[in-house]
Amino acid sequence: MHTPIPFHFFTQTDKASLFNEVKDCDTKSYIAKYLDEIGLKSWIVEDNYFDTDYLSEFSSFYSMSAKGYKNTCKRYHFFSEDIDRTFFLKAIGNDEVCLKKLKECYLGFVVLRPLAKGSFGHTVLSEYPNDKTNTRVLCKRKYAVHLAGIELEVEGLSWQEQDSAVGACATIAIWSALHSTCFDDSHAIPTTAEITKAAHKTASLGARVFPSYGLSIFQVSEAIKELNLSPIMIAGDRTVGPEYRFSQERFSSICGSILSSNYPIIMAGFLEGCGGHAICMTGYKPDYTKTFIPNDVLLQESATTVYYVHDDNLGPNVRLELFKEANDVVYLKPVASAVKYSGAAELFLSNYKFYPSHLIIPVQNEIRLSIDFIYKNSMKIADDLLNFLKGQGKNVGITINIRYLEFKKYQGDYIRQTLGDGACLASTRMKLSEDLPPAGRYIAVIRFAFDDKITFDLLCDTSDCQYNNILIAGVAFNKSGASILGLLGIPRVIETYS
């Protein structure tokens, strides 16, 4: 039977004892260092915590084990200020100053499962400090956390360690991705046990469900479908023996477009020294230093080399950099960072070399148009325009950037960002409402710039198949944009400048 246990309060002087119930491992040293980086000063431990994911794992697997696993977890709450029991009592007694400070200094939580392998359960930690350019793009969301009757909030994306019984890396990568993609009005976020079961429902070919030592890429896709989403599956454009690999242009362009559309990416591939592996890509640092080249097409996201991943063997937001081999095959490796990891994590990171082979993106069922198709056709249009303009004696460079967006967001924030406030914005928003046939919930937007001037957007219907006419309209940002859309024979052109 469970017994009541009081909260435990710890301060910086106790740092050596942080997670002392967990054996030394890569994950433990990574997370301890991560917490240092985000400014950990104190933490509170709830010794009796029922975690939804662990209860689901317990019900599916651990409850039947002869070992007698507990069904409760420990939950650690982290703060960037010194929070002791006296201060905490004031805060939960609704002392305005203390409560405000407690909320402001909350860094997130870690659930520790009562398992020998895979102790780190549901974890959400705030992101580590950004550099001065502040350009990191992360798929994240807000989590409400309840502690002694008060609500704390942390922004991040769920991560957990694989336990290799209910979920291996592929299950965990799906779980992390769906914590963002399923965070809407029409989906429920599944537990790891539900994901592994969904993966086996139609595609197990006789393999047992638990213990789960891994999933095939087929099963990853099937699990996504079972959970009422659709997988966009993208393979590399290079091959090394029987294995797919990616060129930088394809990898970085697609990842940039997808991540900036706020979809995490499940990345399958080969981890050197380990074999098949899957991780969840959660963000990137756009590199827009590469400017347009006359008579050429620049895919704006293609220069990106810094990515952030949740790796179930290590921790959340691991910073990886893209490197190229001689045959234009890319791999990801942790970069030399300002912080040295101690112990196991340092060794793991120094040997880490991941070759992506497939990108799997869970999206809403309404998004049917492949990102590959959009890129390929954008390149065709750009090529045609370059040749035409060259014939007119105009040596311009074309830059393309592509996103999937909700139509309301395009008509809302995005168009405002581009046009600024005023009459042009009002008129464009009205034209988007009144001059177009009904648009689906999601559209693909291809933004074209000529030299350094944003010229037009092509709005594509994502709810149809690529063989039908998917073009909804062109949005011209100036007379040059309208002229080009006219040359291309775009049937509906919205002029933002009139």
Binding site: P129, L215, S216, V297, Q300, S337, N401, I484
Partner: protein
């Protein structure tokens, strides 16, 4: 884990989604051609460098590779 500090020039980090447009601009001067010329992107020269680069976005999935177990 900490980001490397980098110097930025004025050209860096110009995101096409963050930049405002000048709606009065007709920098390409193509207005006179409006309605007189029509381009057809389906008739690209497949040997042009840009079209060749576009081929990297035309990958057919080999079902065998989807059976690879990751874990």
């Amino acid at each position: 884990m900490c980001e490397k500090k980098s110097k930025t020039s004025s050209m860096e980090n110009v995101n096409l989604w963050d930049k405002k447009v000048d709606v009065t601009d007709d920098f390409l001067g193509l207005t006179a051609l409006k309605g007189k010329v029509k381009l057809d992107a389906t008739k690209n020269d497949p040997k042009s460098p840009v079209a060749k680069r576009g081929e990297c976005f035309d990958v057919r999935l080999d079902k065998k590779s989807l059976e690879t177990v990751i874990g």
